[in-house]
């Protein structure tokens, strides 16, 4: 495949509450920042990820074009998925060989909705959605299945939360969340409030470039050495819930295990998901996981997965990692997983 690298990454200082910004206002600063970092305003291809349902209106991506100032008209596409899949589409487009740069961005304002209830609308509308299971409830089913299989304890989940929040407080872009309180009651057993990613507004952007163009734009490009995604059965009873087979398959296809991993940024919206993903990606105890705090410290839906790739790339850019993994997930209970391997 053609050598393609992440050469620039920017994200908003994510917030827990609505800041009164429209979507174009939210994304404009990060678009400007990656343009400056990459040293160009124009890209061969542009792709974004967002979700209409967050705003409760069609075409949330349409007004984003006004923020880009897409004139003359640009070669552009959009996925109704986390923007990590927009990055995948852009990476594929760069494989054609006729364009050398791509702009990718994603944005989401959780403050405009109730994410927990909204995610129910993603379930099979005939057989699952009418049951009224919300996002935390179906995540709790997976958490219970995982804890029972592995014999791990709820205190292991709390440890993930405590570490993520600590890292998040050190990350200027993540939320400042308080220490985990073990006395907190259950949200839905066995999950407590600290096991659940916080509602967050935010956006992120990445520039991809191929070959020499990447070397011109970035001192230490984060080369994409593997990228793959796999989906799994939708029905929660149609797949083993105590693990993520699609994450393992994506990691295998992306070549995670070909060499040691220094850092992994995992799209875990619940504490148990981090543990399931560590196992699926076969990440040992020496791998630094979610040094940014991960989604448990900031979860701007539709940008969260892209931020994982950006955070992993940032560790390559600053020389603190030689080989990093960025992961994104979609669908209920880690149904769909994307894995990227980045190297300096």
């Amino acid at each position: 495949m053609r050598d393609v690298a992440v050469v620039a990454f920017a994200q908003t200082a994510h917030t827990a509450e609505d800041q009164g910004l429209s979507e174009p206002e939210l994304i404009l600063p990060v678009i400007q920042e990656v343009r400056e970092k990459a040293g160009t305003r124009d890209f061969g291809f542009t792709c974004s990820g967002s979700c209409d349902y967050l705003a409760g209106a069609p075409f949330s991506f349409v007004s984003a074009l006004d923020a880009l100032g897409a004139w003359p008209p640009i070669s552009e596409s959009h996925v109704e998925m986390d923007a990590a899949w927009a990055l995948y589409e852009a990476w594929v487009r760069l494989q054609h060989g006729d364009v050398d740069t791509a702009l990718v961005y994603g944005f989401g304002k959780s403050s405009q909705t109730d994410v927990r209830e909204l995610m129910t609308l993603q379930l099979d509308p005939y057989y699952l959605e009418p049951l009224g299971l919300d996002q935390v409830s179906f995540a709790a089913l997976q958490a219970r299945a995982y804890l029972e299989r592995t014999g791990r304890a709820e205190s292991d989940l709390a440890e993930v939360a405590a570490r993520s929040r600590r890292s998040g407080r050190d990350n200027p872009y993540a939320l400042d969340l308080p220490e985990v309180s073990p006395e907190d009651g259950y949200a839905v057993a066995p999950l407590r409030p600290h096991d659940i990613a916080p509602d967050t507004d935010g956006a992120a952007a990445i520039v991809l470039a191929a070959g020499d163009r990447a070397r011109e734009m970035c001192e230490r490009p984060a080369w994409i050495r593997g990228i793959a995604h796999r989906t799994d059965a939708h029905y929660l009873g149609g797949r083993p819930l105590d693990r993520s087979e699609s994450a393992a398959a994506a990691a295998l296809a992306a070549g995670v295990g070909k060499a040691p991993v220094d850092v992994a940024e995992l799209h875990a919206q619940f504490t148990h998901e981090e543990l399931i993903l560590r196992e699926a990606l076969d990440l040992g105890p020496d791998v630094l996981v979610n040094p940014s705090g991960g989604p448990l410290a900031a979860n701007p839906i539709m940008a969260t997965g892209l931020i994982r790739i950006g955070e992993a790339a940032a560790r390559i850019h600053d020389g603190t990692a030689g080989r990093a993994v960025g992961h994104a997930a979609a669908g209920p209970c880690l149904q769909h997983n994307l894995v990227t391997v980045l190297e300096g």
């Binding site: 209409d52 897409a70 008209p73 070669s75 998925m81 589409e89 594929v92 509308p125 796999r230 989906t231």
Partner: protein, 382 residues
């Protein structure tokens, strides 16, 4: 453009107002199985699935690709969900083709659908983002002023829109999948229907349809059966609120057409293409897009329509399938254009076949006439 790509299978459902007999999953699976059958393949032969549809509010299922993974045989495979407004069907084909042109996969299943009977599209299009005003007009109300401006600029006589409606509905009588079939349709009949959004009359608009369309795309080495080769692909987008953009003859459409013609080595589309399936949801968009896509000079489009050039027996047939005016499962409508273009150059269009068609254009547009997706397919390997 990367590696060669071909269409080796096409599948469509019958388009109708309400498909009560199938779920959304059943609808997309029906189209997918027909495309696989056409290619002589099964789900096991597919490397990846790309699905497209218009806004999720049309069915009330958020990001339905998660739910549809099982029905489309995607378990254990990559699956993507495209959404580029009305052009999404075309974009879905292009994202699928890109996976092959980029050398990532050998066989990709692309599917697009809409099950409009699950909701109300005009309502879904009329809600608005926070901090912005809604026009509460749906699509027809939005595009009618653009059409009036076209008529003002060109002095086109008022019966031209009705001529397009008659032509496309006559073509639909030859297409077994078409939704609206109106035997004996005439100019007088169209002109006697109520005015919805001046100058668009009832029979000059697209219907609301349930339906799905699917294609199997293949790399050169994985071709089975009769291929339609992809000769060019292009997308363009422009900002809806840009002051001074020409919504009647958008630059995005012109640039997209120029790009796809360049890739296919076409300098005169009117002479070098044999058929075109173009997104015409309101009758007047045929003359407007004839000009935008360079089939004639600006201001001349309505004359081609009026003189019968775009009829099935004319020298440049547009929408021999009956087009969006005859079948409109919104998210699928663009993919149907791309698929019908492929059927023409494969010689598989049945009664609405353009004799000897060797190169055809598939076109889709969306948003406020600001998103464009196009491809050119041909019977010859490029």
């Amino acid at each position: 453009m990367g590696n060669r790509c071909a269409v080796i299978g096409v599948g469509q459902t019958r388009y109708q107002t309400k498909r009560r007999d199938v779920s959304i999953a059943g609808l997309v699976r029906e189209a997918a199985l027909r495309a696989l059958e056409d290619a002589g393949l099964t789900f096991a032969d597919i490397d990846a699935v790309v699905i497209g549809k218009a806004p999720d509010l049309f069915e009330g299922v958020m990001m339905p690709e998660a739910y549809l993974a099982d029905a489309l045989g995607a378990r254990g495979k990559p699956m993507m969900r495209v959404h580029t407004a009305g052009s999404v069907g075309g974009s879905t084909a292009l994202v699928g083709a890109s996976l092959i042109q980029g050398g990532v996969h050998d066989r990709v299943l692309v599917v697009a659908f809409e099950k409009q009977s699950e909701s109300n599209a005009t309502w879904a299009l009329s809600t608005h983002l926070p901090f912005s005003a809604s026009l509460v007009v749906g699509a027809g109300g939005y595009f009618a002023p653009h059409i009036r401006e076209y008529i003002r600029r060109t002095g086109a006589p008022e019966h031209v829109g009705a001529l397009v409606a008659v032509k496309d509905r006559k073509n639909a009588l030859l297409n077994p999948y078409a939704h609206l079939k109106i035997p004996g349709i005439s100019l007088e009949m169209v002109q006697s229907t109520p005015m919805l959004w001046e100058p668009i009359r009832y029979l000059e608009t697209c219907p609301s349809s349930d339906g799905a369309c699917a294609m199997v795309l293949s790399s050169e080495k994985a071709v089975t059966g009769t291929p339609a080769w992809v000769h060019g692909t292009a997308m363009r987008s422009e900002p809806i609120f840009r002051a001074g953009r020409d919504t009647v003859n958008p630059r995005g459409g012109q640039d997209c057409a120029a790009d796809v013609y360049r890739q296919a080595g076409i300098t005169d589309p009117r002479r070098e293409l044999d058929a075109a399936e173009v997104y015409v949801p309101f009758s007047w968009y045929e003359p407007m897009w004839l000009e935008n896509l360079g089939f004639c000079a600006e201001g001349e489009g309505w004359k081609l329509t009026e003189s019968g050039v775009t009829a099935l027996g004319g020298d440049m047939p547009w929408n021999p399938s009956g087009g969006v005016l005859s079948s409109n499962p919104i998210g699928a409508s663009g993919l149907i254009r791309f698929a019908e273009a492929a059927l023409q150059v494969r010689g598989r269009a049945g009664e609405h076949q353009v004799p000897g068609a060797r190169r055809a254009l598939g076109h889709a547009y969306g948003g406020g006439a600001q998103f464009f997706a196009m491809w050119i397919v041909g019977s010859d390997r490029p």
